[in-house]
Symmetry: C2
Subunit: 359 residues, 2 copies
């Protein structure tokens, strides 16, 4: 755990521990985590003694205001040519770059401009650093989810048959923005009736009808940090078959949540949900991963899936969102955000998971 | 110019012309352009005789509905391992990939899984193909801009001192979504008073006040295609100095627009605006590029800047958006979308550029 300003020290310790001379960060969420810069174009270059945030003229004022722990350089033209000309790495020999966040084109420009050095690609560099949320990060995640819960609660008094999926989505966005969200975590998913059986249905002009379920999956970004939740709403009185399916998904989700704590392999948490759905004969309809890490990115480390080799760590924030999708009928998904602790987890989502029937 | 379904033929002709065996597309807007797939995860593999759209289980139904000109394959696990195992490229020796749209990590997995082939990186592959908009693409761009113009017109009757920048932004988003926009082209920029002097100010809780200018820069996506426009609104009666600055920026924009036509180097168009601002003594305050291409991406080819080596082509759609930024005072930017023709351009933006004073 660390705070902005101290994080360049984390990078410099890594440089020394790994016996290299320089590290080039090219992934904007990593750069924001490290030095606080929120613009859309930047590179962060770190050596054992110095650090430079390189951006362009649109961000002169903003970078000076935001950046902590690095010197700001405004660059017009090729950034690697600038690094060479400025001589930041003149006496150095071994640089590392983010292999998952540098294109082959940029790699070529980097290694041509700075050909006096050996360049080594690293992967997953910031996973556990960013995974372990600091208090200020948690506060923002909490606030993002509070806004999301608030809007969900309000929607329950507003939703009724006759609106289109798109109108419901617009209402969600409007309320979140009015309450101070910076933007949406992703475009809200609003899927009525059989469209809820498509895990990634975009809101359409389909009209909500009495006697069908509605899936709502949305979240917002507050000071850079994202929330994410899914709830089902039944428009009218739910039939027994639906109630039974809902109960199974909820129990699967609760089983997964109960198993989540630091040091547990993520795949065991996923397996809890999958095993419970199996006892209901519904596991074949759970066609995606259990969830994902969340923070500065809506999908970030750890990978929350039965294929994941990651272990949960204290301070991580993940979603737990099992779902079943019955083609042509409906889908049911329930999603909360969990803050992982040493002995369990804290649920950041406060909206009820009781079956909701709007009658 | 080509339509979805024919575009795989364009790629196959390129393969044959360049004497290679296969082409791997990894850039989602290029893939959407080529075969119509709108999901968030896909690869398009093309050989001289066949084409495969490779995606994951979330998109089974959607891919079957959307994809034209390629066979759909649902892949779980590593896509390059799948390509090898399926033997799509078994007898082939020379593959090309998009160097600007493949990370070093993915490049390593590609070349390890398919090491029997030579892999060559290409850049700018789809620039002119996507740059020359087809009638169906133009229709969507027009519609996106019509929605944007409509919302701007409505806002003029709604905006008044007392609202915050964030509230104005929320209103823009809400109206665009209600009128059928898929999403925003980018988060609306709403900047009041001296905040308009920051070219990339995000909407804040700053309250709009009588006697100051307001900058509005927004657009929406309609069926995949983006719009973009900027207008200034003065809250009250504008002083003469502001009117004069506004007139200079407008004349600069009109000079640039008048010069735009097919076969003209983009930098000459940029220069028209810059030269006019020079005659007003304001060129030092025009600190960014003149504009950008727009289509499936909000920023796409051609590069519209004084540093650009591109020429305009018939059918291209670009923005023209000169601006001046007087630190601590205000910024003024005016932006339209142009459709480039053989003899000039068609302005897709219909909102007035007369000085607007809301009194």
């Amino acid at each position: 755990m660390s705070t902005t300003g101290q994080r360049v020290n984390v990078l410099q310790t890594w440089i020394r521990t790994h016996g290299v001379d320089a590290l080039l960060l090219t992934h904007l969420p990593d750069i924001r985590w490290a030095v606080g810069f929120t613009g859309s174009h930047a590179y962060l270059l770190v050596t054992s003694a110095r650090a430079w945030l390189l951006t362009d003229g649109r961000y002169t004022t903003q970078a000076e205001q935001e950046v902590q722990g690095a010197e700001v350089q405004i660059v017009s033209g090729d950034v690697f040519a600038h690094i060479k000309e400025a001589g930041y790495l003149a006496e150095l020999t071994h640089g590392c770059f983010q292999a998952e966040h540098l294109t082959v084109s940029a790699y070529r420009r980097l290694t041509e401009a700075l050909e006096h050095m050996v360049w080594e690609g690293v992967e997953g560099l910031t996973h556990t650093w960013r995974g372990r949320k600091a208090p200020d990060e948690l506060a923002r995640l909490r606030r993002a989810q509070e806004l999301t819960d608030r809007v969900f609660q309000e929607l329950l008094g507003w939703i009724r048959p006759g609106y289109t999926e798109k109108e419901v989505a617009a209402e969600i966005v409007y309320r979140l923005l009015c309450y101070g969200a910076e933007r949406m975590s992703f475009e809200p998913l609003v899927a009525a009736g059989s469209r809820s059986a498509l895990p990634h249905a975009r809101p359409s002009t389909r009209v909500l009808r009495e006697g069908e379920p509605l899936l709502l999956d949305f979240g917002c970004v507050y000071e850079g940090y994202a929330s994410d939740m899914t709830r089902m709403v039944y428009l009218g009185k739910a039939p027994e078959a639906y109630r039974e399916h809902y109960r199974c998904v909820l129990q699967a989700q609760e089983a997964a949540i109960a198993s989540a704590q630091a040091d547990i392999p993520v795949k065991e948490v996923d397996m809890q949900a999958r095993e419970h759905l199996k006892t209901c004969g519904l596991d074949a309809y759970f066609t995606h991963s259990l969830g994902h890490g969340v923070g500065l990115e809506i999908h970030e480390w750890p990978r929350v899936s039965y294929q994941s080799e990651d272990k949960l760590i204290e301070g991580a924030v993940i979603t737990v969102e099992p779902g079943i999708y019955l083609p042509g009928k409906y889908g049911i998904r329930i999603e909360d955000m969990l803050h992982i602790t040493a002995t369990g987890s804290e649920n950041l989502t406060s909206s009820t998971k009781e079956l909701i029937e709007l009658t």
